[in-house]
C-alpha cells in the first residue's frame, strides 16, 4: 500500500470502530471492547508505519476534490510532514493506552459502549486534524473533537458538576471557534484556497493582506481549544469527566491541537510581529498564572489540569519565538508524561477513594497500595518538573533555549521582546512547576495518619498502560538528536545557560516546597480531614464520580480545601485564596457575560409573558364572552330545543315560500 492509503486508513479505522461501537453497543456487548481497542491499536501501527515511511523527508501531499463547492475549493487533502507524522504517533499511542486503560477503569459502567465509541470518534477526529492538508477538513475534525469533549466531560451527567462543566467547556471553546472560522475564511480569501501548502505559499510571497487581523482571529480559536489565557477557564472544570478522558482529550491531544495548528501555520503568525508579541504575552500570563493556581488546588486532577495549561503555555511560548520544532518537541514529551500523570491519578483516586490531596495527605502508605502508580507518577512528575535526564527536561530546555536565542537577538524571525517575555515567564514557571509537582508528590505519597484503605490490586489493564507510557516519559528526551531531521532542522540540544538556570530553579522550587511541607506536616495530624467514596469496591469510574460529587459538600468547593497543613498555602501566603479560584476569572466572566445574558433573558421573559401574552389573552377574551352567552341557551330541556327547531323550520319554510312565489 502507498503511504497515502495508509495515512487515509489512520483516521478512518477509529471512525469505523466508533460507528460500529455505537450501532452494536446494545445488541452485541461482547464486541464493544474489541471494537474500541483494536481499531485504535491498528491506527497506532499504521501511524508508526506512515512515520517510518515519511521519515522526516519530503512532505507527503495528496488531494482529491469530491465536488465543486463554489468560490474557494474545499479538497480532501493530506499534508504529512515530520510534525504530522510524529504527532499522529503520539495521538495513536495515548489513545491506545487510554482505550486499554478504560476497559479496566469503567469495567462496570453501563454507559461504557457509548463512552468507548466517543473516545474512538475523538481519536479519529484528532488524527484527521493532524493529517489534514485542507483547513476546512481540519476544522471538521476540530469541531468533532469539541463535541466529543462535551459528551465525555458530561459522562457522569448525574452530577451537577459534570453537567455544568460540559456546557462550560463547549461554550468557551465555541467562543473561540467563531473568530477562528472567520479567520480561516479571511486566510482562504487571500490565498484563494484552503490548502495549507497554498496558504503557506501565499504567505511567503507576501500575498496576505491583513496578517495581524487574521493571526489574531485564529489565535482566539487556538486559545479556546488549547486552554490559553483568557479562554482557559473551561479546562480545570472539565476534570469532572472520567480520568481517561482527561488524559486523552484534556491533557495529551485535543488541547495540543491548537498548538499544533499554530505550528502548521506558523508563517502566517510570523507575518505579524504584533501577533507574535500577543502570543508571547498570552503564553507568559498563562504559564505563570496557571502554575500559581496549580499550587493552590486540592483536587489532584485540577492540579494536573492547571499544569497542562501551563505546559501548553510553554508550547505557545516556543511558537511565539518562532521555534515550532521546540513547541512540537514539548508537545510530544508532554503528551506522554501528562497522559501518564492523569492515568496514574486515576489509579490513585480509585485506591484512596478520594480526589482530595488534603485527604490523601492523611493516609499512610498509599504508595504501597499502588506501587505501579507511585513509581510511574514519580517518573512523570520528574519529567514535568524538567529534571534531567527525563523527557520534560530536554523539551523544556529546547523551549527556553529558543527563547534565550531570540531574546539575545540572534534571529530575525521573531521579535526580541517576545523572547524576553517567554524566557522570564518560562524560568519563573519552572520554579512553580517544580513546586507544585513536589507538593503533589509529597501530599499524595508521603501522607501520615490512618492506614490507606486496601481494595486489592488494581486491574492489570490499568497498571500496564502506566508502564508503557513511562518509557517515553523517561527516555523520549534523548530524541533531541534525531528530531531536528523531522522538524525544521533547528537544533534542539539543550543550551548550557538555560539548562543550568532551569534545572537550578526547578531544584530550588522543589526544595522550598519540601521545606514548607516539613514545616506544615506536623499540623496535618491536628486537623482531621477527609471523606472517601461510599462504594470503594466499585470500579474506578464510580469511585471517581462519587469523589468529584462529594468534594464540594465535604471541603467547601470543588477547587480547594480548608487544610492548614497544605504547603501550597504556606508558600502562596495571601495569594492562596485567589489562586485557588483561578484568580477570580470565573467571577469576572460571570459579571461580564453570564449576568448580562441572564438579565437579557429576564427581559425577554418579561416581554413574552407580560406583553405578548396580554395581546394573546385579549384576543381570546371576546370569543370566550360570546361563547358564554351562547351557552346560556343550553338549558338541558329537550322540548325547548325542539321548539327552537320548529321555529327555525317555520321561518325557513316561510322564507322559501316567499322566494318561490317571488314576493
Amino acid at each position: 500500500m502507498t503511504t497515502t492509503t495508509l495515512a487515509v486508513l489512520v483516521p478512518l479505522l477509529p471512525f469505523l470502530g466508533s460507528a460500529a461501537g455505537l450501532l452494536l453497543g446494545r445488541t452485541a456487548p461482547g464486541f464493544v471492547r474489541p471494537l474500541a481497542v483494536l481499531p485504535t491499536l491498528a491506527a497506532l501501527g499504521l501511524a508508526v508505519l506512515v512515520a517510518v515511511r515519511q521519515g522526516g523527508g519530503q512532505a507527503v501531499n495528496a488531494a482529491t476534490e469530491l465536488t465543486p463547492t463554489g468560490s474557494v475549493p474545499i479538497e480532501l487533502a493530506l499534508h504529512i510532514d515530520g510534525f504530522a507524522a510524529l504527532v499522529a504517533v503520539l495521538v495513536g499511542l495515548v489513545a491506545s493506552c487510554v482505550q486499554i486503560y478504560s476497559t479496566g477503569y469503567l469495567r462496570d459502567d453501563p454507559r461504557y459502549p457509548s463512552y468507548a465509541a466517543l473516545v474512538s470518534l475523538f481519536t479519529s477526529a484528532m488524527l484527521l486534524v493532524v493529517y489534514s492538508g485542507d483547513l476546512i477538513v481540519l476544522l471538521v475534525g476540530w469541531e468533532i473533537m469539541g463535541i466529543c469533549s462535551y459528551f465525555l466531560v458530561g459522562h457522569y451527567w448525574e452530577t451537577p458538576e459534570a453537567r455544568a462543566a460540559s456546557i462550560k467547556a463547549f461554550l468557551v471553546t465555541k467562543l473561540g471557534d467563531v473568530p477562528f472560522l472567520i479567520g480561516l475564511f479571511a486566510l482562504a480569501t487571500d490565498a484563494g484556497s484552503f490548502r495549507i501548502t497554498k496558504v503557506l505559499g501565499t504567505v511567503t510571497s507576501g500575498g496576505l493582506h491583513h496578517p495581524t487581523l487574521v493571526a489574531l482571529l485564529l489565535l482566539a480559536g487556538v486559545a479556546g481549544k488549547s486552554a490559553q489565557f483568557p479562554l482557559h477557564t473551561w479546562l480545570p472544570d472539565a476534570m469532572a469527566g472520567p480520568t481517561p478522558v482527561s488524559a486523552l482529550i484534556h491533557a495529551a491531544t485535543m488541547v495540543a491541537a491548537g498548538v499544533y495548528f499554530i505550528a502548521r501555520l506558523l508563517p502566517v503568525f510570523q507575518a505579524s510581529s504584533v501577533a507574535m508579541v500577543v502570543l508571547a504575552v498570552m503564553a507568559a500570563v498563562t504559564m505563570a498564572g496557571s502554575a500559581l493556581a496549580a499550587l493552590a488546588q486540592d483536587d489532584i486532577k485540577r492540579v494536573l489540569a492547571y499544569s497542562t495549561i501551563g505546559q501548553l503555555g510553554y508550547m505557545t511560548g516556543a511558537l511565539a519565538v518562532g521555534d515550532r520544532g521546540a513547541a512540537v518537541f514539548h508537545l510530544l514529551s508532554h503528551g506522554a508524561f501528562k497522559a501518564l500523570l492523569f492515568l496514574a491519578a486515576g489509579v490513585i483516586i480509585h485506591a484512596s477513594g478520594t480526589n482530595s490531596l488534603a485527604a490523601m495527605s492523611r493516609m499512610k502508605d498509599l504508595r504501597a497500595r499502588v506501587p505501579d502508580a507511585y513509581w510511574t507518577m514519580t517518573v512523570a512528575l520528574l519529567a514535568l518538573a524538567a529534571i534531567p535526564p527525563f523527557s520534560g527536561f530536554f523539551s523544556k530546555e529546547a523551549v527556553l533555549g529558543a527563547a534565550e536565542h531570540v531574546a539575545t537577538g540572534h534571529t530575525e524571525h521573531a521579535p526580541g521582546a517576545a523572547g524576553w517575555i517567554v524566557l522570564v515567564a518560562g524560568l519563573l514557571t519552572a520554579v512553580l512547576t517544580a513546586a507544585y509537582a513536589t507538593r503533589l508528590w509529597l501530599l499524595a505519597f508521603r501522607g501520615r495518619g490512618a492506614e490507606a484503605p486496601d481494595h486489592g490490586r488494581q486491574p492489570l489493564t490499568m497498571t500496564v498502560t502506566l508502564w508503557v507510557l513511562a518509557v517515553p516519559s523517561l527516555a523520549f528526551g534523548l530524541a533531541y538528536g534525531p528530531l531536528p531531521d523531522w522538524f525544521d532542522d533547528r537544533d534542539l540540544t539543550p543550551v548550557l545557560t538555560t539548562s543550568v538556570l532551569g534545572t537550578g530553579l526547578a531544584l530550588v522550587g522543589g526544595i522550598v516546597t519540601y521545606g514548607a511541607w516539613r514545616h506544615t506536616t506536623a499540623m496535618a495530624a491536628r486537623v482531621p480531614l477527609g471523606a472517601v467514596a461510599a462504594h470503594p469496591e466499585g470500579d474506578a469510574g464510580l469511585v471517581e464520580a462519587e469523589a468529584i460529587a462529594s468534594h464540594a459538600p465535604a471541603y467547601g468547593n470543588v477547587a480547594s480545601a480548608p487544610d492548614p497543613a497544605d504547603p501550597g498555602r504556606l508558600l502562596l501566603g495571601p495569594l492562596h485564596r485567589h489562586a485557588a479560584v483561578g484568580f477570580h476569572l470565573d467571577a469576572v466572566y460571570a459579571t461580564l457575560f453570564v449576568r448580562p445574558v441572564q438579565g437579557a433573558a429576564a427581559v425577554v421573559r418579561f416581554l413574552d409573558r407580560e406583553v405578548v401574552d396580554t395581546y394573546v389573552r385579549g384576543a381570546g377574551a371576546l370569543p370566550r364572552w360570546l361563547g358564554a352567552a351562547v351557552r346560556r341557551a343550553q338549558t338541558g330541556n329537550v322540548q325547548t330545543y325542539v321548539s327552537a327547531l320548529l321555529a327555525g323550520t317555520v321561518v325557513l319554510v316561510v322564507a322559501a315560500l316567499l322566494v318561490a312565489t317571488g314576493a
Binding site: R631, R632, Q634, T635, G636, N637, Q639, V642, L646
Partner: protein, 121 residues
Amino acid sequence: MHLAYPAVLAALLFCTGLYGVLARRNAILVLMSVELMLNAVNLNLVAFDIWLSKTARDTLHSGQALTLFTIAIAAAEIGIGLAIVLAVYRNRGTSDIDKLRDTAEGPDSGAPAAEKAEATA
C-alpha cells in the same frame, strides 16, 4: 276520494303529535306523540302514492313501499325509546322530561353533577 281529506287528516295528526312532543312532560306520552307524527307522514305517503298512480306517473308504488320501511323503523325506534325511558325511570325514579336536564350548561357547571349525585343517591 279527494286528496284533501287524507291531507287535512294527516296535517291534524301531525299537529297533535307536535303539540304532544312540545308540551307533554311524560316521556312515554312524548314517544307516543312522535308515533303520531310518523303516522301522519305515513298517511301522506300512502295518499300521495295513490294520487300519483292515478295520474299514471308512478307505477312502482314507491310511496307505499317507503311506508312499510317507516313502520318497521318506527317499531324499532319505539322499542329503543321505551327501553331508554324504562332505564331512566329505574335509575331516577321519574320519567319527567323537565327534570332530565343533565346536559344543561349552567354558569356553575358543578350543579348538574351535584343533581346527578343526588339522583343516584
